[in-house]
Symmetry: C2
Subunit: 379 residues, 2 copies
């Protein structure tokens, strides 16, 4: 196996698969990067227990300035190999595998020889090419992940809640997450109705990593399902994740159908006030702030308190307040997380009572995105 390649373009491709590679793994060969050189392309693979990423370096792409002299496979220590490639002196580099998987990397006057591993010991990736993939613009999918991943549980006590629940009904994709204190639900109309049965829970951590990779992706992403794996394909990259096993709780009944008190805010204004109030709540043991809603004089007062440090009080002037008087206490961090994903739009916060969950929705398109937060009893 021997090839030469443009160093900067190679560094980018290495960066893609390295996202899946961890130095902390119980399977030693997975600290390595698999390089599979065929007659006209190179496939790079990185993997850990949860996700695997493959990307194709295509000989057709002139950026790579790729010259393949002989084909073959090798597994190289991932972190170390990419550190070498980053530090090499010249525009191009040459990789050549010799006896006993000894691999030589040359660039200019610099010559590294490192110990590789037999690629036959590298685990096979699952076969996940469904006939009915879901197609979605990458930007929309990134938005869906960002809006739901905030409510994913960080506790391993109920593993199923560490994932996002995706279901498909005709051309409507529904994504739901909850850590049992709050819930986030997003609906997306697919451009074309997908066939097949979709009801899966994908680990939140896998989706966070995928979302980062979609940052610069302009095109569509395809989602393929098998029994216990999901495969996302975009550009020259394939992203595999395991699925979570078990039944996701029925969340549809948690969302209230009616409300007693409604307030409309510009999301950034409410967010700034909650951040100020949380400065004090973070200093107290129970981390709770209080909203006092008075529809008669159209004022909402936000208060935070810490016996050791002091207190804060702020009168907000919402765009609209209607319904019954209310005093409600809750964890400000949940509301901060919720408001951050709305961006600079107007939101409606709808309350039923001091001890019932309240909802936050965009004033426009209320149906598509809803977040729910459970209050805290303070009396």
């Amino acid at each position: 196996m021997q090839f030469s390649i443009n160093r900067q373009a190679f560094i980018k491709a290495l960066g893609i698969v390295q996202r899946a590679i961890s130095a902390k793994t119980t399977i030693p060969i997975l600290t390595g990067l698999m390089i599979d050189v065929s007659a006209s392309n190179i496939q790079l693979t990185g993997s850990n227990a949860d996700i695997s990423i493959q990307t194709l370096i295509s000989g057709d792409n002139p950026d790579y300035e790729l010259t393949i002299s002989s084909t073959g496979k090798i597994v190289l220590p991932a972190h170390f190999f990419s550190e070498i490639v980053k530090k090499l002196p010249n525009r191009e580099l040459l990789v050549e595998v010799g006896d006993n998987f000894q691999t030589t990397i040359k660039s200019g006057n610099s010559e590294f020889t490192i110990n590789g591993l037999d690629a036959n010991g590298y685990p096979h990736l699952p076969e996940v090419d469904s006939e009915h993939p879901i197609q979605l613009p990458a930007e929309i999918f990134r938005e869906v992940i960002g809006q739901t991943v905030i409510a994913v549980s960080k506790q391993e006590s109920r593993p199923i809640l560490t994932g996002i629940h995706f279901t498909l009904d005709h051309n409507q994709l529904l994504a739901v997450s909850t850590d049992s204190h709050r819930l986030s639900q997003r609906k997306v109309e697919l451009p074309t109705a997908a066939e097949g049965d979709y009801n899966v829970v994908i680990p939140g951590e896998s989706l966070k990593e995928l979302s980062r990779m979609l940052d610069s992706e302009k095109d569509a992403i395809e989602m393929h399902l098998s029994e216990n794996q999901v495969l996302f394909t975009f550009g020259k990259t394939r992203f595999y994740s395991r699925l979570l096993e078990g039944n996701y709780p029925d969340t549809s009944r948690l969302i209230p159908n009616s409300s007693e008190t409604k307030v409309q805010f510009a999301a950034p204004d409410l967010l700034a006030a909650v951040e100020r109030a949380s400065l004090l709540s973070h200093e107290s043991r129970n981390n709770v702030i209080k909203l006092t809603i008075n529809p008669d004089n159209q004022v909402v007062t936000i208060t935070g308190n810490s016996p050791d440090v002091g207190k804060v009080e702020e009168d907000l002037s919402p765009a609209e307040v209607s319904g019954a008087d209310l005093e409600i206490s809750f964890n400000p961090d949940y509301l901060k997380d919720a408001l951050q994903v709305f961006g600079p739009i107007d939101v409606e916060v709808a309350f039923t009572s001091a001890l019932r969950p309240f909802t936050i929705t965009p004033v426009e398109n209320q149906e598509n995105f809803i977040q729910l937060i459970t209050p805290v009893r303070t009396f």
Copy 2:
């Protein structure tokens, strides 16, 4: 005590004194920020066991938009107070101290009340205003710190070596540091001859912090000495540091007067090659790279080796090689640190023998700056 001030300008001033304030201190009041409001100015003070920083908010400076309604002093929880100021909604803020050191901070509709502390409990800063300060352009002093702080010892076993040794002979300031494996020495001609006796050791950590503060300082800095404190003044800021007690070792005899082998390199080229070689040495237990110098064919070969991972070899083409053949091994991190502070200039590396320290100097102005590294015996 009551004043109103422009929020952005106040945030900058708070940032200056906060550099000295640590949440981890055994003296509780030092987690606080001292605010001393006089008729026309506000003085802010922050301190820890090693350094203290004072800065003056001058009523003459229109950026502060300062209005002082009543004078007084208060100590406020530093981190918490500046978090509040950063998050307040309006352009201005008002600070008012009430009964029992309760302090109100108002901006727009937001009103914080926090518990302050009696300023009479705040330690007094030492009096350090010498008659014969050393004056130096801030930029030069920052360069001196940057060039010598790299060789300061990080081990507390010989506390005196954790500082930089400054001595003054007529108008020549000498700064020396050594951790007993390497040494860095810089000479500076002062614009004017200073009077008085200067022979002090200033903690490296204090000087690192000072150096960061001088980043944007264009003017001169003054250095004042007392028996156990040094005071640096620049702009509206006063920076105090304790001095290290004890005698600094005599380092002048460590620097060799002659050499057997000399090599000239462009510092960035040698640095890049050393960084590559250190990728491998870092993977081996003793972290050593080897230079093989062959003046006959004008080649210097750099090699790094790790039994587990592999090896690297690179032929360098120095600008000049003269003297005897040599093979020498050393810790590459010392040479990396040394080369980094030279910047993009040509340097001369001069060797006596494989087991004697070698020196690195600029090809021009060799007298002013010298670094010394002790090799490692590998045979």
